[in-house]
Amino acid sequence: MARSVHLTLPVSPDDMRQLALGDLVTVSGEIVMTGGLPTHMRIVEAMKGQRELPFLLDGAAFFHLPSYSVDTENGLEILYMNPTTSTRFNSLMPGIIRHFGLRMVCGKGGLDAESTRAMQEVGCVYLSILGGGATLHSDAIRKVVDVGWSDLTTHYRLIKLQVEDLGPLTVAIDAHGNNGFLQLEERARQRLPHLMETLRRERETASSATAKD
């Protein structure tokens, strides 16, 4: 039975190991977010000592959440935010998760098996967030805490944002090596022979009905 859990950031690896696939999570506190591939590549450069990070990412809640931000008298303001597809970053995420000991990654579409292993090692979960929920997600925006790499287009910037009750988000990869997306794919493959057989029978019924006509 899926539980509903509210988490206040920061969280520990042990906190994350308490979560199970399907749990519904709302999050309050400081998250780090971006939607950009160039941003991920800069983070990897920083891991190699080739570049400075704008702020620390250790133990972060890392969200694949592009946003529209504008400069105002009171600093940067986020007008709206909504997730991007996490699997775009499959090749980079295992290294980032391990290097910074991320506690959560959030986005849409999940991550691959190697990221799942990395998450298990460091005590991290993947949270799936509704794509096309810009107004609902944006309700959670409280304050922009920090902004990095403002030279990039707005949705690529690395933003530290204070949120309140962001969610519900679904635990789609837990910290024990279980990946809900890969499980669904595996189950679908197992169902294929039966579904193909049903399709074959229905095609035969359709063609015999046509023959009678």
């Binding site: 592009p66 529209y68 699997t87 794509g131 096309g132 810009a134 107004t135 949705h155 669904l184 399709l199």
Partner: protein
């Protein structure tokens, strides 16, 4: 009287904005029906959240999704339509006008594929397909912007004299591989036959057919029905929660060809961004969708 540059410019901008802020009525009805029919509790909650998101965007004049995609138009020109001013330029300028004026502003999504640089304009933007309507005194414009979220997962395979079984197996294989990446429940457009270019075009146009409509070809209507059951039987569910609702609709079209048979599959995410209107010679604007 004639259809003017200003009318076309304004309407192409408006259609884009409408498609971003309000999901079509048929998509709303399809989501409601899915909420009724869905047996998985997590999936039902996700579908209900989608409905809330769509309602909220419409009521607050904001975007359903932050990714406004790139501008894509499908335009049918009546043979009796008369124009005052440039038509193609009006559509280009409409997008430029939208970028300047829309609130909240759009993100920069137009991507140069050679450099991956992003901006508000680029080669061949907006993407426009043209067709003619014999005897009509209007121009019919559909705007269906496209983004990576669902656009990334379209697929094409060229077969040679395939059986229906091979075509249906290919669809299920594509759905399994995409594994709930395209923000399901999706609308699936399938094109069969013709040529490479024709096949992808009819697949795309099939996604624009109203949800809930019945295919005029009985054989394709039956195929759509059985494939709906099969695709939803795979169990991915809305946003990959599991459940019965992976597709809201499957629309198939075909063209005669020459034995090399392309099969094209493309997706709309659950939002089904689409807005459509007609401009008439007498100045009327008719909102169709």
């Amino acid at each position: 009287m004639a259809i003017t540059y200003d009318q076309i410019r304004t309407l192409s901008a408006d259609l884009y904005e409408w498609s971003l802020k309000r999901i079509p009525d048929d998509a709303t009805h399809a989501l409601d029906a899915a909420i009724e029919a869905e047996t998985n509790e997590s999936a039902r909650k996700m579908l209900a959240m989608m409905r809330r998101s769509a309602d909220r965007a419409e009521n607050t004049d904001r975007f359903v999704c932050s990714d406004s995609g790139v501008p894509v138009y499908f335009i049918k020109v009546g043979t009796l339509a008369r124009f005052e001013g440039d038509v193609k330029r009006a559509i280009r300028d409409g997008f430029a006008h939208l970028v300047e004026t829309i609130r909240p502003p759009l993100l920069q999504h137009v991507t140069n594929p050679l450099t991956n640089e992003r901006s508000y304009h680029g080669k061949d933007m907006p993407i426009v397909s043209w067709d003619m309507v014999d005897g009509a005194d209007y121009i019919d414009i559909t705007c269906a912007p496209k983004a990576l979220g669902s656009g990334r997962w379209a697929a094409l395979e060229i077969f040679s004299f395939p059986t229906l079984e091979e075509i249906e197996a290919y669809l299920l294989d594509v759905i399994v591989k995409t594994a709930a990446q395209q923000c399901p429940p999706v609308t699936i457009g399938i094109g069969i036959g013709g040529t490479f270019d024709q096949c992808t075009k009819i697949a795309k146009l099939a996604t624009l057919r109203p949800l809930g409509s019945v295919n005029a070809e009985p054989a394709l209507a039956a195929m759509e029905n059985r494939l709906m059951k099969a695709v939803n039987g795979l169990g991915f569910g809305p946003m990959g929660t599991g459940g019965d609702t992976t597709a809201l609709a499957i629309h198939i079209d075909y063209s005669s060809g020459h034995g090399f048979t392309p099969v094209a599959i493309c997706f709309n995410c659950w939002i089904n961004r689409r807005a459509r209107a007609r401009l008439y010679n007498d100045g009327r604007v008719e909102r169709v969708e």
